[in-house]
Amino acid sequence: MKKIKCSLTLILVLSILVVPVHAKDINVMKAGTPNAKLDTSALKLEAVDYKLGLRSVSVDGNKGVYNSDINLDDGLRLLNLDATFVPTTDKADRYLDLARFSLGDVGDPTPTYELKLKEYGLYNFGVKRSERDYVYENGADADHHTYDFTRTQDSMHLTITPEGLPKFFISKRKLDREGISVLTKDLYETHAEFLMNTPINETSQDATVGTEFSYAGYDFYLAHTQDSYTGSVLQEPAEALGTDNIGDKDGQYQDHETRSLDRGIDQLKVHKIFNDRFDVTLSLKDARGDGAFSVAGYIDAYSHNAYDNNGNLVDTTQTVQERKTTYGNTNSDSFIGSMDTTLLINKDTYLHSGYKSTETENNIDYFAYYFDNGTPNDTSDDHISAWPGDGSGEWKKLNKNFYNQKDKYYVKGEHYLNNELKAEVGYLYTKEKDKGAHGPGETTEDGYQLGFLYNPIETVKLDLDYKDTAIEEEGTEIADNEEIDFEVEWEVLDNLKLTSKYRKEEDDGSHYGAYVGYPAGHYEDAKRENEIQTFSVNYQPVVNLDLGLSYSDQTFEAVNGFNSDGSGTILEYTTKVNNDLYNVNATYQASEDFSANFYGNYIEGQESVSNINNESFKNEYTDFGLNLTKAVPIYDNLDVTLDLRRVEYDETPSDVALYGTNANDYSADIITLGLEGGF
């Protein structure tokens, strides 16, 4: 792996050096530096497009659940602004063809800000900030957390494409997550009387530099990425939950965890077409990461013995409070190599094949506290973190190592039997090895796939794909996986099109389980089944009216047969989710200056667990609206818009507590009066 790493780095450095060496003799390259100062008078405002909205929101029911789902508020919003500048002088034209500044959703939870600069055939530069506010107020749900945080993404890219020279690109991205998570109920024994606040403060960033060029008929892509992650979580008591038992919260409980990961990633791709018939792509990716972490705090919760059979807290001394302190270092290295080929055997037949190898090794050194007699403080094998005891003893270094290696091969033929019918046949093989706490050891999966694409007449298209593979573990077949995709498209008339899709995945016996006290692996009595049926109609009865209707029935079912009580009996049960989804659209262009669009989405969701109570949960989500656009007669390119939107969420009350309650329901009317135009 080290040799590959060195080679990749060397090739990358040499390639990057080639660019400025060649560029010295080219005037346009000098001139095209995007950071060069521009005389602003050399630019003129070419066009401005905007949309302003005045919004009114009315919510009935649970506002917290509405905020979690929609989170749009009253007020004036700048929904969109695009300002485009173009050069006015020859000199400026040499540097710049286009400058565009864009804003979107300003004042809403998803604002975006963007600047693009372009000189066609020379460079493309852009900076962008996008934000998203996340609010989670769980209403009458069983989750006792609330969240309020913002993800901010800042990105920059510069691509230089001088004619006849290698493309050079550089990009940088930074993601911040800031806010707070709050545990709102007394799940902790030590400080049950306080809200537990956890400020969120995490940053990840990456920078990539690379080049892309062709030489001697070979196409090359080389890139190096440096990325990093830092996170710091400090949980501590905050406001009192009630008026009783309020003690001194300061310094009594605190849990602090830090994590970091720095990684370098090198990529090389080479592409070549031989004789217009043989297309080969070689791809190598090598990543090496080092990280560190530290933990100082508690695991703190009541144990089961603290409760009586009615769920009442009766014994506050029965806790699983454990002080945990540890620290360590991580190494995370990986390599992916692949080679894919396509051979054009004749004008009707392609042969695709490929090999892909991946290798991962995660190594974690961490420190645990041992007593003087050499036994770990934590005597349970499962408790791999450590905490100090009574002050005696010493820290010892422990290690966890995880290694995974996978080889994949595929060969696939694609043949046009005639102008109407194409057939595909393929073979797949995967071999995988795991070492470490996770994974089944060594497994192989192989099987075949078939496909047919049939156009019996010009207006009908049928597409069928089928795959069947078997998984073997240590030479014994443990699972059979089948996938089927079938699609029919029929243009009944010029203005009427019907589409139907069916997809089913069935993983029989291949469910991967990790149960307490049992080794992780595949369990043959388990099954996973995913089934989706979709039907769509698109109809244009008259030239100015478009109608669309889609319906989908989506089911996911998991069957488990597992018993951890040692009795040898199997408790088979099924978890199932079944959602019916509907979408309608109608667009009507009444005249040149008036149009209307109606849309509606309705989702009926339900799920169940087949156990002694046969629990089930049902809800309905409806989102529909009408958008009207009317041109203002006395102005060019100015429209008044009216967006009417109604959102409803409704849970079906259940006999089983918290499996559905009206307390979570809400309905909201969102009305936006807008002004949209350009000049």
């Binding site: 959703d105 006792h144 054009l344 961490y366 408790h383 995880f402 290696q405 595909e424 969701g605």
Partner: protein, 256 residues
């Protein structure tokens, strides 16, 4: 690198090369190399990294070619900012993937409306290495371990805090479908885009049995038969198992 891996790598490359050479030798000299509608475009655009894999992509295998999504150079009638696309994402993608459009209509989904991200933030419509449907994802990785052909790298490129490695790793993050073991990124009726709407139903789909004391909250029959309902606080497993993606602190991934 392990020696067996080197042998496998060598054998595989040899296999592909032998196959290719055999076919080239056997091929008639006057073969016409224009079977697919994309060939003309790829003669130039195939030199760009993003198109290296197009001929083997799911789109190409299903006869979706360049001109199905793009206009030609001299016919840029679209308002799309992006590479002569016939229309903006996600509408362009929805025009074939109606089932995905319906998924995004659910109660919670990644936000495509604001332009914060698009379909191609995660997917590469021109294909990727590996020859299967996962090759349409933008990034592939073995970084999170066993789930090395699934989209973990795509997900953690934004959700970096979930990546680890952790001393105590939740198996589902590194096994089988990785992040998609629990999440449905195209949309869900659950706030966290879980496969199931109720968190405990999701957990039960793998953890068929849990220690019986989790059921002491039952209103009636708090039996040791653990195949029973969770209620009240225990109805949300992450109330206590708050570091469910992985923890350096506790093997049960209890809240710090």
């Amino acid at each position: 690198m392990k020696s067996t891996k080197k042998v496998n790598l060598l054998l595989s490359f040899s296999f592909v090369l032998v196959l290719a050479l055999a076919a080239v030798v056997a091929m008639p000299a006057d073969v016409e190399a224009q079977a697919k509608a994309s060939e003309a475009c790829l003669s130039c655009h195939g030199k760009v990294k993003t198109q290296f894999q197009f001929k083997r992509s799911q789109h190409s295998l299903n006869d979706v070619n360049c001109m199905d999504c793009h206009e030609s150079h001299d016919k840029k009638t679209t308002q799309s900012n992006k590479a002569t696309l016939k229309m903006e994402e996600p509408e362009l993608c929805y025009s074939c993937h109606e089932d995905v459009k319906l998924k995004f209509a659910q109660r919670n989904s990644h936000n495509l409306e604001s332009g914060e991200m698009t379909c191609s933030s995660c997917h590469t419509p021109h294909g990727g290495p590996g020859g299967d449907v996962n090759a349409s994802l933008k990034k592939h990785t073995p970084l999170a371990g066993r789930a090395n052909d699934i989209p973990n790298e795509t997900c953690v490129s934004c959700h970096a805090e979930k990546e680890g490695p952790f001393v105590n790793q939740h198996s589902s993050v590194v096994a089988e479908e990785g992040c998609a073991s629990c999440h449905t990124p195209h949309g869900s009726q659950n706030r966290f885009m879980l496969k199931y709407q109720k968190t405990d139903t999701l957990c039960l789909s793998c953890h068929g049995e849990v220690k019986s004391w989790h059921y002491y909250y039952l209103d009636a029959n708090p039996a040791v038969d653990s195949n029973a309902a969770f209620t009240t606080d225990f109805a949300n497993c992450t109330n206590c198992h708050g570091t469910i993606h992985g923890s350096n602190e506790d093997f049960m991934m209890l809240e710090e």
